[in-house]
């Protein structure tokens, strides 16, 4: 079993109105000089399997076909092997 942590973020050059709004709000809290805020999505999933390469390929496929929309979003993910419970 592997835990996949998937990060989905707006592609470079794609307008991110949420990020822009947060950027405008931060100075109100006294934080100046914060730039390039991008808001994305964090997805975790546990995937059954023993071969990390197979799991990696499956998760990549899931990202490309559902979890992210490659036209507007980039994605990357990390895999962690989970200890099997006795």
């Amino acid at each position: 079993m592997f835990r996949a942590s998937v990060y989905v973020t707006p592609k470079a050059g794609i307008l991110d109105p949420q990020g822009a709004t947060i950027e405008r709000a931060l100075p109100a809290l006294g934080f100046e000089g914060v730039q390039n805020i991008r808001v994305g999505r964090y997805v975790t999933l546990d995937v059954q399997g023993t071969d990390p390469e197979v799991v990696r390929r499956d998760v990549d496929d899931m990202c490309r076909r559902l979890l992210a929309n490659p036209i507007i979003e980039d994605y990357r993910f990390e895999l962690t092997a989970l200890e099997e419970r006795e």
Partner: protein
Amino acid sequence: MTGIAPRKVRFGIVVFPGSNCEYDAKHALSTFPHAEPYYLWHKDDDLQSPDVVILPGGFSYGDYLRTGAIARFSPLMGAVSAFAESGGLVLGICNGFQILTEAHMLHGAMLRNRGLKFVCRSQHLRVERTDTPFTRGLTVGDVIQVPVNHNEGAWTAGSEDLRQIEDQRLVVFRYCDEGGDVTDAVNPNGAVDNVAGIVNERGNVLGMMPHPERVCESAVGGIGGRGLFDSLINHVLEGM
């Protein structure tokens, strides 16, 4: 037309969990004597011989993940896709447009509105093409008034896609002002190049964010949407 009464044009309206404009679409079409609207459930596997399939507005699957992202996997969407592949007419309105982009039946993708606000207002649209089954009764440069009602309507596409869309003239409607000028000031959502509606290369699939089904009777505020449905009905009846 000959003396024989023309057959009715069958409009199959696909209902997903979370759709909420299917009644509007069916009611609007009931005001056209030659239209025969009926509902389809997203779990059906048969389209029941439609002439036109409509993917209505709403919030299919609660807009989870991305708008239209889950509805695209509904059982009936396989049949809708095959219907479009064979040249069948498909009209996606608002959430229907979002579903069509997620299903890769139309170019591009939807982003959240530029102003981060849900927009609900009457909007002028400039007609860019009239050589499609959806707009054949209109005139290029016509300005029609149709409401928009959405949160994720900022249509966008990659630069290569955009070039192809321009080259092949896939844009059918653009947001404009009352006089037909396409300006950023009247763009309700930040859509690239004020795109409000596009077709596929073959011209048989149209997606649009505005709601033509809401303006088919003067009693509800306008008839700016009638030209589109008249075009479709005439296209089918004339067997083009």
